[in-house]
Symmetry: C2
Subunit: 900 residues, 2 copies
């Protein structure tokens, strides 16, 4: 059985598709070797050995030693140096490498092979005693920590580990020498420290530091295997859901050094710019340095080439200038790797005495803009297919283009005040105000404001619109504030429980600070973080981004589900259209009632005592509603518009102060006590489960009648103006077929009336929102009369879990923390619970009407995982807030590919 895979001299036993056996690192090194790319030679001990190791009381397979010896010989021959050779010793690194990257979770030992026998020869060869003693003391530090203490199972003495003790010795030496940096210690310092280290190791761990190169190699190998079952690695696997059986490989590779003088260097690079996606080689390098020096930031690294030059490093030499031949070689490798891997790569290299060695290649991380550009460019370059381009961009990465973002650099050092639920993505900065009226007034004066509230209600909408962002102490991801903000693409954080807001004093206590009206704060709505002060933002302008538009076109070519938007106003509808919405999936009508002239008629309707006076009041609203529907149907001409009839409990329209109540009584010429008692009687203990939705339309059919009339009169008028309209009337909160049929009959009657009154014919549909469990359970009873279903998964999630979206803030954070819930079910659809009901609704609905049109208009319609689910259960379309339409288009395309 083959346990050891050699690589070097242009060929490797392994390849990139052997990740399970060789781990990700080992497989990629083998692949690079096979591509003819110069990689320090070495070998990979397979994950099978790891499995054997744990199955046999930490013993190796008997063939291993011979295979290692053979591979070591091949390595020696490839490097032209021998392991343990006093004259010109080969040193090796010993690194872990599992099939799935587990960054920093397992151990590494470098400089293996340095012993009292090989040190003199290496000093001779390298010409630098300081370099060698420094390398030696690093070996002792790593080895004593990783191999002798951790893998040896030695309990740290007095709780202080060996590594910490050795680091303290370095600090002492620096104090003695009155220097600050390790760099300021010279060769003698390191030599002396190495001696002291060895004594300390013996003293603390009771064992000599091994002076034999083979003992070091096997010690380090065993320690890497042991680290697979270290505490950190195990808990990482638990969190990520990785299998314990996977095991790690061990990579033994010849050491190369970028810090042996001026002909040496080290660097990192990306095959394309990871911030912009531009197709230019991008990276940094340092002469006479080790890899970690580039990353550590002690020295400012040099740019690789002109593309990497900016204000800060304009004076520094490029690699292209300093080592033109090596740069050309490196650039060739870059192209080779990208062509081969068909994706942007993140690479590490070292130049040892004018010789280039590649140490690593892996898929490079990139931001949203770059991700899109690279995917689209590579598709145009015919490097990848349309399907691959679609899969290369995370839907969430589109957010970066769709919303202004807090500048990530500014965030690093910002003063974090609080965490909340990320309800509206993007960033915003502004001055705190505490009321909607203040928000509006301050905004009129040209100020940027952030509205800070315990929670918001429909009456705050004008202030929310004026504010740059909304921050609330209560509520969940589908609370009022969140819904409204997302509809406008506005930054919003909700459920920020550590805010203590005093509305009267106009102060907010948070994290031990007191903020006042007018103080600046900045919100990162994508992550849910509140910062003190004014941070800089990066603007959004997706429609000028050609790559974005191309990606959308590619995605549209792949996807099969429609994408609609949830929009209540013509402006929002138009915005969504520019983002590619193919109709409105949810037009809520209640927001239309809060304007001053309308709300009075609405209130008159609510407090009316007879059907006649109620009808009179309702009909006052007709012209307004007709105008609303005229606007939105016109903006969405040629596309379907699903209009939901009045949904919220009536008391939402009569939350009045006592003064306002008196005023209303006067205006409506009503007895004050009667008015109060009527308002009082509308109060509900659990309004979410109360008298709302179609229950209103059943109690007050004249509301349904007025709304239907407004819709159809607008439709008739537009039809006469030759605008094509497709209104779809949606009955909300239906739980029984009888409810639907009651309301449907009214809507159809009014449609016929309007048609015969106007003499205009227009198409329309009547369907229902499926948003309570009973509707799913009895969908086969509802479907015969309904022309469409639209899943309202916000309410469905509330009732399926018994979670109020307004109150979930009280326990959701701890539920997520304790992993009782894998994620916020209002953000991403709970497929195993709520999803079962959705599936049942689809199957039962289509069991009686095979071609029933079914969509989703809950907030989940904009969540990629939920969109994938919607595709799998066979929905015809998803609908989401305007600013999530592009995300939904991409996710819908990905769903097709993922489920192929």
């Amino acid at each position: 059985m083959k346990y050891v895979y050699f690589f070097g001299n242009g060929t490797a036993d392994g390849s990139a598709d052997m990740k399970e056996l060789l781990g990700g690192k080992g497989a990629n090194i083998a692949e690079m070797t096979n591509l003819g790319i110069p990689v320090p030679p070495g070998f990979t001990i397979t994950t099978d050995v790891c499995t054997h190791f744990y199955e046999h009381h930490k013993e190796y397979p008997s063939e291993l030693e011979r295979q290692v010896t053979d591979a070591l010989k091949q390595t020696e021959s490839a490097m032209g140096r021998r392991f343990g050779d006093p004259a010109d010793p080969l040193l090796v690194s010993v690194r872990s490498g599992a099939a799935v990257s587990m960054p920093g979770m397992m151990e590494t030992v470098l400089n293996v092979g340095l012993t009292s026998k090989t040190i003199p020869g290496l000093i001779e060869k390298s010409g630098s005693a300081r370099f060698v003693w420094d390398a030696y003391r690093r070996l002792i530090m790593m080895y004593s920590d990783v191999v002798m203490e951790k893998a040896g199972g030695v309990e740290p003495k007095d709780g202080v580990g060996i590594r910490e003790r050795l680091e303290e010795l370095i600090e002492n030496r620096k104090e003695e020498r009155e220097v600050e940096q390790d760099l300021d210690l010279n060769g003698d310092d390191w030599k002396e420290l190495a001696q002291v280290f060895k004594v300390t190791v013996k003293d603390v761990l009771g064992q000599d530091f091994p002076d034999d190169h083979h003992e070091q190699l096997w010690g380090a190998t065993g320690a890497v295997f042991q680290s697979w079952n270290g505490r950190r690695a195990i808990s990482y696997r638990r969190i990520e859901g990785l299998a314990d059986e996977m095991g790690t490989a061990v990579n033994v590779q010849a050491m190369v050094f970028g810090n042996m003088g001026d002909s040496c260097a080290t660097g990192v690079g990306f095959t394309r710019n990871p911030a912009t996606g531009d197709n230019h080689f991008y990276g940094e390098w340092l002469a006479d340095a080790q890899g970690e020096d580039v990353v550590a930031g002690i020295r400012t690294p040099n740019p690789l080439n002109e593309w990497g030059r900016g204000d800060q490093n304009a004076h520094l030499p490029t690699l292209n200038e300093a080592m033109p031949e090596i740069y050309t070689q490196l650039d060739g490798i870059r192209i080779n790797l990208e062509t081969h891997y068909r994706d942007m790569q993140d690479i590490e290299f070292t130049i040892e005495k004018d010789r280039l060695w590649m140490l690593q290649t892996r898929v490079g991380k990139r931001n949203g803009a770059a991700s899109i550009k690279i995917a689209v460019d590579m598709h145009q370059e015919e490097l990848i297919t349309a399907e691959e381009a679609v899969m290369r961009v995370q839907p969430s990465q589109l957010d970066e283009l769709l919303h202004p973002m807090v500048d990530p650099d500014a965030e690093v050092s910002a003063d974090e005040l609080a965490h909340g639920l990320p309800a509206g993505p993007g960033g915003a900065t502004g001055q705190i105000v505490f009321t909607a009226d203040d928000a509006e007034a301050w905004a009129k004066d040209g100020k940027k404001v952030i509205l800070v509230r315990k929670e918001t209600s429909p009456e705050d909408v004008h202030g929310m619109h004026a504010a740059k962002a909304i921050l609330t102490a209560k509520g969940g991801i589908t609370s009022h504030a969140a819904l409204v903000a997302r509809g406008w693409g506005k930054c919003c954080i909700v459920g920020c429980g550590t805010l203590y807001i005093d509305r009267h004093q106009k102060t907010v206590q948070v994290n031990g600070q007191v903020l006042r009206e007018g103080d600046w704060i900045t919100l990162n709505g994508t992550k849910g973080i509140v910062y003190a002060g004014e941070l800089s933002l990066t603007p959004a302008d997706p429609l000028r981004n050609e790559s974005f538009k191309k990606l959308m076109t590619i995605a549209d070519g792949v996807r099969t589900m429609g994408v609609r938007t949830n929009a209540d106003r013509p402006e929002d509808a138009e915005q969504a259209r520019t983002f590619g919405a193919e109709g409105i999936g949810l037009c809520r009508t209640e927001h239309m009632f809060f304007e001053p002239e309308r709300i009075t008629a609405m209130r008159e309707m609510i407090v009316a005592e007879t059907e006649e006076s109620r009808r009179k009041a309702v009909m006052k609203l007709l012209p307004f509603q007709r105008q609303d529907f005229y606007g939105i149907l016109k903006a969405m001409h040629d596309l379907p518009v699903t209009i939901r009839l009045l949904d919220p409990p009536l008391h939402e329209f009569v939350t009045l102060t006592s003064e306002q109540t008196v005023e209303l009584a006067q205006k409506l010429e009503l007895d004050l006590d009667k008015l109060k008692s009527r308002i009082e009687s509308l109060h509900e203990l659990n309004p979410m489960l109360g008298h709302r939705g179609c229950r209103l339309g059943i109690a007050y059919p004249e509301i349904t009648e007025m709304q239907a009339r407004a819709i159809f009169e607008a439709a008739a008028q537009l039809s006469e103006e030759s605008v094509k309209v497709l209104p779809e009337v949606m009955i909300p909160l239906v739980g029984t077929a009888a409810e639907f049929e009651h309301q449907e009959a009214i809507v159809r009657r009014v449609a016929e009336e309007v048609k015969s009154e106007t003499g205009v014919d227009f198409p329309y549909l009547v369907g229902t929102m499926i948003e309570i469990p009973r509707a799913c359970l009895t969908a086969n009873e509802i479907a015969p009369k309904a022309e469409f279903f639209s899943f309202g998964t916000n309410d469905l999630t509330q009732t399926t879990y018994g979670f109020s979206r307004d109150d979930i803030g009280g326990f959701l954070p701890s539920y997520l923390e304790e992993e009782i819930l894998p994620h916020d079910p209002f953000q991403s659809l709970d497929q195993s619970g709520v999803g079962q009901l959705v599936q049942m609704g689809v199957e039962k609905g289509r069991s009686v009407k095979a071609d029933l049109k079914i969509g989703i208009c809950g907030e989940h319609g904009g969540d990629p995982d939920s969109i994938d689910f919607c595709y799998r259960v066979g929905l015809d379309y998803v609908s989401c807030s305007p600013f999530r339409v592009p995300i939904a288009r991409l996710a819908a395309a990905q769903a097709v590919i993922t489920n192929e």
Copy 2:
């Protein structure tokens, strides 16, 4: 084809099992005839003729006329009189009779055969001209109304029907003669009126009143068939869900008269006493009278026998005394009928010139007590089987024995104030109070009070306990008031929306009246009616009722499901035990926290800021809880007790006035603002969907820990005292397996701790309440660790429908009225919606644990229809309030029989 079935002379063509063909009346008359019981002869025209009539433009089958002629001949021969014979004419009645009784919905014509030719002969034979003219004018009134106007399709002239016009003529005549009663008009009056009637009929309807006996017969027959599709009959069938295709039969039967002199009489009877169930012949009779005279109540009827004698009729002659031979014959028939029909019968008879004729027999209606006694007695008499005895009693009839009831006689003339939802059965009368404290104080003074509230909360419990009944303006059948009241068997009406309560003024406006504190009202909680004033009540004492106890024993022998009770206190548990409860299915623990010394510790716990201080406060509650559980486990020794851990949202414990808040701040030495802000932060918009149930125990594990410890310490103590305990710890409101496992782990850990601390072993189970849809949908994930499921169908109904039980009053009444819901889903389980989830929960749960113990502890556990459902889906037991335990025992037995 045979269309006409003769009966008479001791044999009949038909029998009791031919109800579909002959209708109920025709089949029973045939049966009686076959039993040798004297029944006036006649014939039944089958329902097939009705079907033919409507399928062939109201024409009869061609064979019909001949068959009628033949049957008429047989009838003539049996009576010894001929139809249309001028000398001794046979008169007949023509009556409808469908398979299912539709009382008063169709037409009847009596005295058919009276014409100018037959009148003189009948006067001669009867010896009474007045009798004959009276009979004739009755024929004209019925015939002109039923046959000529209604069946003839004549629109009433000026909206005034012919019958009304003729009645007016009688009134005029009485005025002229200055008399008040019809009885005071003599033979000449009736003769003259008959002439005037005929002129009027001709004048108004444009047709002569037919003077031919055959024309009368066929006219009446056709009119009865027509009345099957009369407006009243159709709408009755719609309401009762009867098929239009069923059709009616027509019964033509020789007239016999009880009003032809002193040798004539008429009467009604029951084969056993319908009020007590005593096995005595019970009934009333009148000499020289018609059947309607007995019912009309103008003359006080005589008792049939000594058993019927009371204070009011002690002086009146019994039939036994007046006509001993006929009484003996009648009593024989009574025994014959009961033996034959094997149920108590309601009979009608007429004595015409010393000859007894039976006119009707049918199953007699009876009250609850009688129903039970008759069933049990008949079973003991070996007349019926145990299964039949069980099926003979409606579970709801038991209510009459279990609760005091408003005296039905007093209700007839009482002043009805309002209708509400019948939340707690039984009757109560008392003086109005508006606060729980007043209720307690007044009750201490020995007053009977009724607590009138908008709604109740746990803090009102002491006042609710002190009151005779509770009346609320809001809430549904499972609201707080309803639940608590039912638990105590207390009368309660909720959701009485027409009450306007002014708590400060201590008045309630209802139905235009203003009632004040101290005013008397009476509640019928079985029907949901509120009366003004103090009505008399009939007391309840079921356990002294031997028949009741025997019926329960019979039912227990049949049923297979267990019956437990929902009880929170030892007294209630003991009460339920006497009613036959086999354990506690739901012991709520939250009611235990409202006593003064406990509530402070509870509040301290709630406002605690650190886990440590919270734990300290919680542990103060431990001794109280331990004592509670000790009491209830002891009361239920040898039987299982399911204890639900804390369920309600915390804010329920801190609804404080500002004074109380200040006081609490002082008591707990807390900053007032901080306390206020903590209380404020607990407020929820939809508490029913908020931070409650196991969500509390997860946020504050120390609550679960304390409760588990209290249960197990009590169990250990009782075990040491050799009391057998079976605690079952129930985790509430579980929606995910992770929630259950989190809480289960705590409970099991504490159990082990207590066992090892005390050295006592005791059995216990840990299970969960399945009460939100997601728990049903993922029951297979929850079941592996749960030892039992108990369906909480109150909450499950709330979330499945999206109905808040506290707010449903706003629309439920109109939903029931408009038949959008067939019944209140909180009262009787919604089998097609909620039931699907229950079934899913059972199937999914048992799919992973075949022997999973499953019960129901929602209010539906006491509803017979729901109990039938529970049996069908395979539940192990139902649990209900103590006063419904007998009902559940009976219903569970009926479920076995019904589903055989």
